[in-house]
């Protein structure tokens, strides 16, 4: 009997909840009775303004971030068109100007938005663009100097350039903020992306018949890989993913080098690239499956 009672009671409650009109009576009464000047409403109006200001600033930075990403990708694309020694200077010069423009205009805009605010609060808004930018500038740097770009240089150059352009003291102060904000972790993530570009460059070089630089790039990336392995304490999912891709890139390049070594004398140079790429793809497929097993 009591069981039955309990059941019917549940039923009834369920039934009640379908008729929200009755259930919500109190809510309606309160909502209608709410005065614009009530304590809570007044408070929340204040909070709304504060939240909006923050979100607006965040969105503005996101917009700049998008512009930086697009321009950085274009610079990388431009750098990939470098295939002949004769084009070298024009392309590198153009890339340099465009990188400088990014620093002078878009990054300055971010600095202006961040002025007087905790930069770490807005780091998320522009970190992707910043990583892309690191990729572009370090790719440029590699083609120019054959070395890895150092982020501390960027910090210096950003501040330096803007100071030169503007005699306004305020701007240079803001630039200091952006400097601290060249978060090394973001730099490292950008550098990890660089290996992808280097791999592409390596294969392009091969098809252009520039074999020595293939070995050079491969060695360079190998050193970077070593560097990544040596870093203790970065084990976020994002880093791990990038490390995996980095290793794939490295393996591809090593296979390209292998193909050159073994079959370089058998095949005409302009065909080597195709052979190497095919060989690489075969190899990486195997490796992929090997990873899946574990």
């Amino acid at each position: 009997m009591s069981e039955y009672k309990g059941y019917s009671n549940d039923k009834k409650n369920q039934h009640n909840s379908y008729h929200k009109i009755n259930v919500g009576d109190k809510g309606k009464e309160v909502l209608q009775g709410i005065n614009e000047n009530s304590h809570i409403i007044k408070q929340f109006k204040k909070y709304a303004i504060e939240l909006d200001t923050k979100h607006d600033r965040y969105e503005r930075i996101v917009k700049i971030n998008r512009d930086i990403t697009i321009e950085s990708k274009r610079i990388i694309f431009l750098l990939h068109t470098l295939d002949k020694e004769s084009k070298r200077n024009t392309i590198l010069e153009e890339a340099e100007t465009r990188i400088n423009n990014l620093i002078k205009i878009l990054f300055k805009n971010i600095a202006l938005e961040l002025y007087g605010h905790d930069p770490y609060l807005y780091l998320k808004a522009y970190r992707t663009g910043f990583q892309e930018f690191i990729e572009a500038i370090s790719f440029y740097w590699y083609l120019q100097n054959n070395t890895l770009f150092n982020w501390t240089k960027l910090a210096e150059s950003m501040r330096y350039r803007i100071k030169d352009l503007n005699e306004n003291e305020q701007y240079s102060v803001e630039e200091k903020t952006i400097q601290t904000l060249i978060a090394p972790v973001e730099y490292i993530l950008g550098i990890a992306d660089l290996t992808g570009e280097l791999m592409r460059k390596c294969i392009n070089n091969l098809s252009n018949g520039d074999i020595s630089s293939c070995y050079q790039i491969c060695n360079f990336v190998r050193n970077m890989y070593k560097g990544f392995l040596s870093c203790a304490g970065i084990t976020t999912a994002e880093v791990n993913k990038k490390m995996y891709v980095l290793k794939q890139n490295l393996l591809k390049m090593e296979n390209v080098c292998y193909t050159i070594k073994v079959r370089g004398s058998e095949i005409p140079k302009h065909m080597l690239a195709d052979v190497a790429i095919v060989a690489t793809e075969d190899m990486t497929l195997d490796i992929d499956e090997g990873y899946r097993v574990y």
Partner: protein
């Protein structure tokens, strides 16, 4: 060439070590742990409000006083944190104390609600926690953390409403319904992004609904205090069916 690559990674490693140091050696973590411990104590004390009480007001006031004493300790540790964390790097380490601060905001708002039946303001909450109100002043109370605390409050109050009825207090749910509805109206004034706060806010309407149902259950049975039916034993029995 390999030297430069190695050097750069060495630099990066130094940076990581440095950050680790700020977190651990400077004892951000330790201080936060202390705060978390006290927070748990406050939570446990305030859980007692759900108990059956014979003398409602005295006991509630008693728990609130105890909680307030514990908040004094909380303030001490926040003070230490404020010294450790550099002024413009609050959000660099924000993650460390974010959730405990939200919880403390909820507890502070609960205490204030129990005491004077009003919604705590962000300023007062910051004072109870012993931290600054504005980000310009350094270690402050983040607005979104505060709002998160208020949303947690609504969940607890919906529970409180139900347990009050069980304990024979039919007046409580009415007050709570009024309060939570007003809170809900307040939250609707905010333009929320699609983030954690928004998700938490979505659960507010379920709390509102739950309290509404309690009010409804009381109303249709004539148990609403203003319907002039005194709380007799027969009524209590009626509620149980």
């Amino acid at each position: 060439m390999s030297d430069t690559v190695a050097e750069i990674f060495k630099l990066f490693q130094d940076h990581l070590n440095n950050e680790q140091e700020i977190r651990e050696v400077n004892e951000i973590r330790n201080n936060v742990k202390q705060i978390e411990k006290i927070t748990r104590d406050i939570v446990i004390i305030l859980q007692n409000i759900h108990n059956e009480h014979t003398e409602e007001n005295i006991i509630v006031a008693d728990y609130c006083t105890k909680a307030r004493t514990l908040f004094e300790d909380v303030r001490k540790y926040y003070e230490k944190l404020a010294i450790i964390v550099p002024t413009d790097q609050y959000y660099r380490f924000h993650f460390e104390w974010k959730s405990v601060t939200q919880r403390l905001c909820y507890l502070a708002s609960l205490v204030v609600y129990l005491e004077v039946r009003i919604l705590v303001t962000k300023e007062i909450a910051a004072d109870i926690l012993g931290i600054k109100q504005k980000s310009e002043d350094g270690f402050h109370l983040d607005l979104e953390d505060f709002l998160m605390g208020l949303l947690q409050l609504s969940t607890e109050l919906s529970r409180y409403a139900i347990n009050s009825v069980t304990n024979g207090n039919y007046h409580q749910p009415m007050e709570i319904a009024h309060f939570v509805n007003e809170l809900n109206a307040g939250f609707r004034l905010l333009n929320l992004k699609n983030d954690a706060l928004r998700k938490r806010f979505d659960s507010l309407k379920y709390n509102v609904k739950k309290i509404e149902e309690v009010v409804y259950d009381l109303s249709i049975r004539g148990l609403k205090p203003n319907t002039n039916i005194t709380q007799e034993s027969t009524v209590v029995q009626g509620n149980k069916i």
